[in-house]
Structure formats: C-alpha cells, structure tokens
C-alpha cells in the first residue's frame, strides 16, 4: 500500500547521520593512529590515504603491551578489575534478579521501581555519593570500622590503610565499578528470568528433580541469554572507563586502559599514541561487541517472527 521508495527514504537521514558522525570518526582515529607527528608542534598529522599509513606508532604501543612493559601492567590490571567486578555483579545480581522475578509477588512493582531508580540518577552523582561515605568521618567509613570489616579487609591485605579508602585502593575501585554498573546487569537478567515459563520448573520437580537440580538444569540454562547479555553490556563500558578510578582513587597505581587514553588526550601532548591505544582497545573489544549485536539481532528476528 505504500510506495516502495518510502521506507528507504525514511531511514535515510538517520543512516547518513550515523555514517558521518559514527563511522567516519572511526576512520579519523585510524588515520591519526597510522599518521605521523609534527616534529616541532608535536601535533598529530593524520594520514587519510591508506597508502601513506605509517604503522610506527601502533607498533610502538604494541611493544609496550608485552609482558614487562608499562602497558602490559595496565592491561592486566584493567582485566583484573573488570573480571572481579563482573564476578561481584553476578554474585550479587543473580539472587536479586531471581528473587524479584520468581518470588516477589506483592512487592514486585515496588522492587522493580527501586531497581530501575539508579538508571535515572547520574552515574557521576552515584560516584560522588561514595566520596561522601568514605571521606574522613563519613557514615560508610564509620560503618566499616564499627562492624570490623575495615580491619578484616586490612588483615586480608585487600586494603593498605583501614582509614583511607579514597587514595589508590584497588578494592575501592572494584567496589565502585560494581556499584556503578550492576543496575545495567540486573535488568536484562531480570527480563530473561521473568520470561521463564514456570511449567518447565514444575515439570522438572514433578519428575523428581531436587530444587537445586531444577535450578541447575532448567532455570540457569534458560537465563543464559540474559546473563551473558547483561555481562557483555557492562563489560564493554568498564573496559573504557577512566572516570571511576579517577574519582575514587586518582592514583597511578589504579590506572586502567581508559586512563591512559584520557592522559594522552587531556594531559599529554601525544594524541597519536592515544589514538593507537584506542584502535587496539576497539580491536580487543570487537569480539564482545560482535557477540552482543548477534544476540540483539537474533532477538529482534524472533520478535518479528
């Protein structure tokens, strides 16, 4: 009933917008990373023609990325932070999502509202809140020392000073990352747990499965999409994070890959190296991005079918 040209024409402005302001900028990063540096002004000279590409800066960064060199330490630290934060999100987030999806009956809508509330509170404000809590004399600090958690953490070697959480403690950075990103993990997980048909579980129980086996063989596999989707959804931004460690620590000893990129553009005079790190980071994250886009694509096909 509609003319054939209508829908491509309707998509045109958006597609052109994304081509110019999303795809083209990637090429600008590549051109700068494979370009050269002005010897006097130290500014980046991008190489727009692939024939003039100079791989020198990218290989320079790659050389610093092997074990024993500076970026290797940063890269390993970033992976540690991301993996530990992800584990924390799963350990806290799965029971919460599971409870709200399966057991919260009367309180379900209230809990859902409280669950999405952090989405509407600025990430930076939620980080600022921890400065309030962990500054000298703050409620969080008082709570941690009154309950003995501070001294336990200190004796376990997780923090180097039980009265200073805001000066270069990896523990605080991981705590802040979990706090910051866990809402984005719980919501897709909740959605997939909520979609599970209860009759599958009843069937498993009727056939003699223990509650644990029913969970392990029915609920867990059926929530796999939400679990992996939520995990990828928070892993990607965590790899590019630089503001969380800067706010709750600010020390070079907790610096992540994002901090290196930030330094080269906002602190140092070498955007070419920054662009090279950005390219390598994007290449590394491509696998995760591909996986997530494939799941979205498949989900939207199912909706259409």
């Amino acid at each position: 009933m509609y003319p054939r040209w209508l829908w491509p024409l309707s998509a045109l402005p958006g597609v052109v917008w994304l081509l110019i302001l999303f795809l083209l900028p990637f090429y600008a990063v590549v051109a700068v990373a494979f370009g050269s540096v002005d010897p006097i002004l130290l500014t980046a000279v991008p190489a727009w023609n692939p024939l003039n590409w100079n791989a020198g800066w990218v290989t320079h960064v790659l050389h610093l990325l092997v074990p024993g060199n500076i970026y290797w330490d940063v890269f390993v630290r970033t992976c540690e932070y991301v993996v530990l934060s992800l584990a924390g999100c799963v350990l806290i987030g799965y029971p919460v999502a599971y409870y709200i999806a399966r057991h919260a009956s009367r309180t379900k809508s209230l809990m859902l509202i409280l669950l999405v509330l952090p989405f509407w509170i600025s990430y930076l404000m939620r980080m600022l809140a921890w400065i309030n809590l962990l500054s000298p004399g703050g409620y969080g600090l008082q709570f941690l020392s009154a309950t003995g958690i501070s001294s336990a953490l200190y004796h376990l070697g997780l923090i180097s000073d039980p009265n200073n959480y805001l000066g270069g403690q990896s523990f605080t950075v991981i705590l802040a990352l979990i706090y910051g990103y866990i809402p984005y993990f719980i919501l897709p997980l909740y959605a997939s747990l909520d979609r599970i048909d209860r009759s599958h579980l009843e069937a498993a129980r009727d056939l003699g499965a223990s509650p644990f086996r029913a969970f392990w063989h029915v609920t867990l596999p059926l929530s796999k999409t939400g679990l992996l989707g939520g995990a990828v959804l928070i892993t990607l931004p965590m790899f590019g994070d630089y503001y969380t460690p800067n706010i709750v620590s600010g020390a070079p000893s907790t610096s992540m890959i994002g901090n290196q990129i930030d330094l080269y553009f906002h602190g140092g005079p070498q955007p070419t190296i920054g662009a090279a790190i950005t390219i390598l980071l994007s290449a590394f994250l491509m696998i995760l991005m591909g996986y997530y886009m494939w799941t979205i694509h498949r989900a939207s096909r199912e909706v259409r079918a």
Binding site: P8, V15, L18, A31, W120, I121, S122, Y123, G258
Partner: protein
C-alpha cells in the same frame, strides 16, 4: 534449672544460635528468606549512598562527611564566599548547559530515530541489513572510543564544527538515535500492519493511514523514548567532556567530576540533587503520559517491560 543453663558452655549456645539462624534462612518450606535478605539488602545498598549525598547538600559546614546541622545555604545563599547552586555563575552555567543539551538532543534525536525505526522495520532490500548493523553499533561502543573518534573528527576533518555546544549536541544525538530506534522498533513489531491495512481497505490514503492510524499507536513509545533520551543526555559525562570547549560548555556531570578531583563541597551534592530531581520528574511525567496513552491495553506491556525487554 537455672544452674543447668548457666553451666552450659558458652560455645554450645552460640552454636545453637547459628543452627537456628541457618534453619531460619534455609527452611525449604518457608519463604526464601536468604533471597529476601539479599534482594532488599541490594536495594538499600544501591540507594542509601545517594540519600546520604542528598542529605549532605543540606550540611551546615563545608564537610561532605560529618553532619553539622541543616541549612539550605548551599542552594540559595547570595554570600559570594559560598558557591550556591542558585547564585554561583559556574553551577548555574553547568545546569543550563545540561538542560540545553538534553532538550536539543530530544528535539533532534527523537524525529530522526522515529523515521529510522520506521525505515529499518519495513525496508527490505539492498543496504537494509547493513543499516541495521550500523544502527546497533553505537549501543555497544564504549563511550571513550566514541569520544576520541568524534574529537579527532572535529579537530582534523570537520574542522568547521566548533567544540562546545554544537559538537556536544552532535555527539549526544549520535548515541541517542539507537536507543530511540530500539524502543520504537519493538513497539512497531507488536503493533503489526493490520491496523494500517484495515485503514487502507476502508479507503484511507497512505499518508492518512500513517498519520491517523500508525502515529497515534506509536505515540506512547515516542514519549517513552523522548524521556529516555532526555535522561541519558543529562547523565552523559564522557561525550560532553571530550567535546567541550572549556568553562562555557561545562555540564553538571563535568562539574561533579572536576569537583571530586579537587575539593567537592556540599554545593556539589546540591547540583547533583537538583539534576536528579529534574530527571526523576521528567521520567515520572513520561511514565504518566505513557500510562495515559496505553490505558485499556490488555497484557503486561508496562513501560518497564518495554525498556527492560531490550536490555537498556
């Protein structure tokens, strides 16, 4: 009797408590008490710090962690030695820049996203698959990568774009479009084509079917996506920071970041509180409008489901 209790070793009674606690938590026939504790514990943990931050925006001292009594001076004071939210040029500038970016973002990204969603949902042909792919990419790209790439684009290629408001709006719209498309596309598929076909069978011209049938059906989702664009634009820190031109294009998140790197004051908590209240009010307004438009619809389609189902 009392002697017997007293003579029981202390360790045994402690063990009894532990066993009773375990029995209470692990009773398979009762409520899942362990899960209840974890779930409510999480919710308190996720919200209490923000409540404390709001509390300290009313602190009668420069301290962010020790309570010295209630005051509203960090919001209203005209004393030049106090950077109050209402009277400090810096904080007011940050507030108005945040609002300006969010407003422009909604005005530009919502229509572009609407047309793109319609096009991508119904266009079958060369380039449609690639366009779909392109649309999903901004959702999964780390913001720092987008920030770096837009910075380099505007400083080396599209040099006529000035840093500051113009560059920031272009950046915000770029990451907002995909959210609008994903939300609207879900609604488009659930509406289906039968209503428009019925309109056409009854003699409506294509333009009439679009305007009088499809648009009203899409309206709730358009409202929902506008509210979400507003909220993510207000929340954005990375893109705004990378594309800012200094003091005159500082947004509230940039202001908070700068303050935490130097010496945050209760007025920092204050400006964060103001922006949070504005966001929450706009979300509540969005939900109310959404409810109004979808009243009478059967099924479980709530705003939360619409958004949650797509993993945003």
């Amino acid at each position: 009797m009392s002697q017997a209790v007293a003579s029981r070793p202390a360790g045994e009674s402690e063990f009894g408590y532990v066993r009773r606690l375990r029995g209470w938590l692990g009773n398979p026939w009762g409520k899942p008490r362990f899960l209840i504790l974890v779930a409510w514990g999480y919710i308190v943990w996720s919200i209490a710090p923000v409540v404390v931050a709001v509390q300290f925006s009313f602190n009668d001292s420069r301290s962010l962690s020790v309570w010295h009594g209630f005051t509203t001076k960090w919001y209203t004071s005209t004393d030049p030695s106090i950077d109050s939210v209402l009277h400090s040029a810096e904080l007011r500038g940050a507030l108005s820049q945040s609002m300006k970016l969010a407003g422009l973002d909604v005005l530009i990204a919502t229509p572009i996203g609407l047309f793109l969603a319609l096009g991508l949902a119904r266009w079958r042909g060369r380039g449609s698959g690639a366009s779909n792919f392109l649309m999903l990419f901004p959702l999964v790209t780390p913001e720092i990568v987008m920030g770096v790439s837009l910075l380099l684009l505007f400083s080396h290629l599209l040099t006529f774009v000035p840093f500051g408001t113009v560059a920031q709006v272009l950046g915000h719209v770029t990451f907002s479009i995909s959210y609008v498309v994903v939300i609207l596309r879900g609604r488009l598929f659930s509406i289906g084509r039968s209503y428009e076909e019925a309109a056409a069978d009854l003699g409506a011209a294509p333009a009439t079917a679009l305007y009088r049938v499809l648009l009203p059906l899409l309206l709730p989702a358009i409202v929902a996506s506008a509210a979400i664009v507003f909220a993510i634009s207000i929340d954005d820190f990375v893109i705004s920071q990378w594309l800012s031109s200094g003091a005159n294009s500082t947004t509230v998140p940039i202001e908070i970041y700068a303050a935490t790197r130097a010496t945050p004051q209760p007025s920092t908590d204050g400006i964060a509180t103001v922006i949070m209240v504005i966001t929450l009010l706009s979300v509540v307004a969005g939900v109310l409008v959404y409810r109004f438009f979808t009243r009478g619809e059967s099924g479980r389609g709530s705003a939360v489901d619409d958004v949650a189902g797509f993993g945003i």
